[in-house]
């Protein structure tokens, strides 16, 4: 390989790397569209919840064994995701919004 080509490609690699770096900045902030204030659900407590509370709520809805609980995003909302191997034989994935404690999604399969 000739030298100019090597330099040229090295430069391109760096550009590609920095581009992918800039896209990563998106990951930490939810999309603006979803950040619009949602009407507070009547049943849900409109205050911040801890991971432990989220696990407790999820287990109440879907009894079983918690395999994982961690901070995640759903539709641009910061959520606690709780994964449960349910006693009903289903694998549940439940999301509660951290800020409000509202149920964002639950999926069992």
């Amino acid at each position: 390989m000739n030298k100019p080509a090597a330099y040229c490609s090295a430069a391109l690699l760096i550009i590609a790397a920095s581009l992918s770096g800039s896209t990563l900045a998106y990951d930490s902030k939810p999309a603006a569209a979803a950040a619009a204030p949602a009407a507070p659900a009547a049943a849900a407590p409109a205050r911040e919840i801890t991971k432990e509370q989220a696990v407790e709520m999820a287990l109440k809805a879907h009894p079983g064994e918690v395999t994982k609980a961690y901070q995640d995003s759903k539709k641009g909302k910061q959520t606690w995701e709780v994964k449960i191997n349910g006693t009903d034989g289903k694998k549940w994935e439940v999301h509660y919004e951290i800020k409000t404690g509202a149920l964002v999604s639950e999926e069992g399969k």
């Binding site: 390989m1 391109l12 790397a17 569209a33 994982k68 539709k75 909302k77």
Partner: protein, 203 residues
């Protein structure tokens, strides 16, 4: 017997080799962090970390694909698409020869190997694009977030399915690629894995 400098020639340029092994590493990382086969193992690690690794691996693969596309036009001889993209007839003829154990030896990619490279690159492209859309539609994250954040559940399910099918197909292609490497290595009595490390092959 190992090829010495005297009777071997450079075939794969250093950046291409780097591309190959970083791509393999990134793919394994992405597969491990979210792949269903490794679920129970990956569950022992922090869930946030696994998702972060998965997204980073995906971005890395996206960057690598862009670079490979470019390198296919401006890279050294054996890295160029023009060197290893043959018509379907040539590919079939080569496969027929291979099955009869008398295929001609190519210094760069042979017609079947070249077709496999193109297929794998397309498979990876499908994985990366569906992954980016899924990341945006399901979680509202990534560069496409604002475009897909209002997606319906059925759309999200469809994209998830696409991401998984594209991955399974690409895994099949990778299996075929490995089979081809072993077959060709035996047929022409040379170590093609080492050639992708040292870049050199018997002249």
């Amino acid at each position: 017997m190992a090829a010495t400098d005297a009777d071997s020639v450079p075939v794969w340029d250093p950046l291409l080799r780097l591309f190959h092994w970083i791509l393999l590493f990134s793919f394994c990382l992405a597969w491990f962090s979210e792949g269903e086969v490794f679920e129970s193992l990956a569950d022992r690690f922090d869930g946030e970390l696994m998702q972060l690794l998965h997204a980073w691996a995906g971005y890395a693969i996206a960057g690598l694909l862009l670079w490979r596309l470019l390198w296919g036009f401006v890279g050294p001889r054996h890295a160029r698409f023009a060197d290893f993209v043959f018509g379907p007839r040539a590919v079939l003829a080569y496969l027929r020869d291979v099955s009869r154990l008398r295929a001609r030896r190519y210094l760069g990619h042979n017609p079947a190997g070249g077709a496999m490279i193109v297929a794998m690159l397309l498979g990876l492209l499908a994985i990366v694009v569906s992954g980016l859309v899924l990341y945006a539609a399901d979680k509202g994250l990534g560069p496409l977030a604002s475009l897909f954040v209002d997606s319906s559940e059925s759309f999200i399910d469809g994209v998830k399915e696409t991401h998984e099918i594209a991955t399974d197909l690409t895994l099949l292609l990778i299996a075929g690629h490995l089979l081809g490497v072993v077959w060709e290595s035996l047929l022409h009595r040379e170590n093609l894995v080492r050639a992708m490390i040292t870049g050199r092959k018997r002249a």
